[in-house]
Amino acid sequence: MRVQVRVQEQPFDAGAEVEAIARGDAGTGAVVSFVGRVRADTADAPGGPVSRLTLEHYPGMTEKALSAIVAEAQTRWELRAVTVIHRVGALAPGEAIVLAAVAGAHRAAAFAACEFIVDRLKTRAPFWKRERTAQGERWVEARAEDAQAAGRWD
């Protein structure tokens, strides 16, 4: 299986990654991808529209945690390729934060594995978001829904 895990400050091209993940592999019948983006107009943002998001992470552990999540996905489903890219540093609204793309022979496995990877990443990979709004900066709180979503896979 082809696995690509990257943590980077630079923007990435989600479209190019989706195009590339199964290139030349005539055994891939399904590619499912998830792109998480910085939302500005969050109705639930206490301080109003978000003007900037900063992502801190734990260098070293981050790559290890992401690779462990991908490895667990491989043991659960038949996959042909996985790409996970996560940005760190300062991001503007509309920018992509994370990409998880999964290629498989069939769609059911590709859908499940992609959602699994994203759910796990949100609760197990050491990233922390800080939002800037008109009222200043604050650390984003962990969401109970994310813990719940991740719990489905236990």
Partner: protein
């Protein structure tokens, strides 16, 4: 010596991101190390478990339970629940 790391809200609360320290006498696990660090003052006490916010601990880059052993040479990290993705 052990290496201790603090991230995000915790890093700001204790005022440092990283330190090296000799494993204090009698400290053998994560719970013992946490208790020791909390004696450093009110900010440390609150940040590392005395406050309302949950704290996660990783030893050598794997999240562990409070009873996990800590030994000389280890890297121990304290951080809040993660919010990436």
């Amino acid at each position: 010596m052990i290496r201790v790391l603090y991230f995000a809200r915790l890093r700001e609360a204790v005022g440092t991101g990283e330190e090296s320290l000799a494993l204090p006498p009698g400290v053998e696990d994560v719970a013992g190390l946490t208790a020791y660090l909390r004696t450093r003052g009110p900010r440390w006490d609150e940040a590392l478990g005395g406050g309302p916010a949950p704290v996660l601990v990783a030893v050598n880059q794997t999240v562990v339970a409070p009873r996990a052993r800590v030994a000389d040479g280890d890297e121990v990290a304290f951080f809040p629940p993660v919010t990436g993705g």
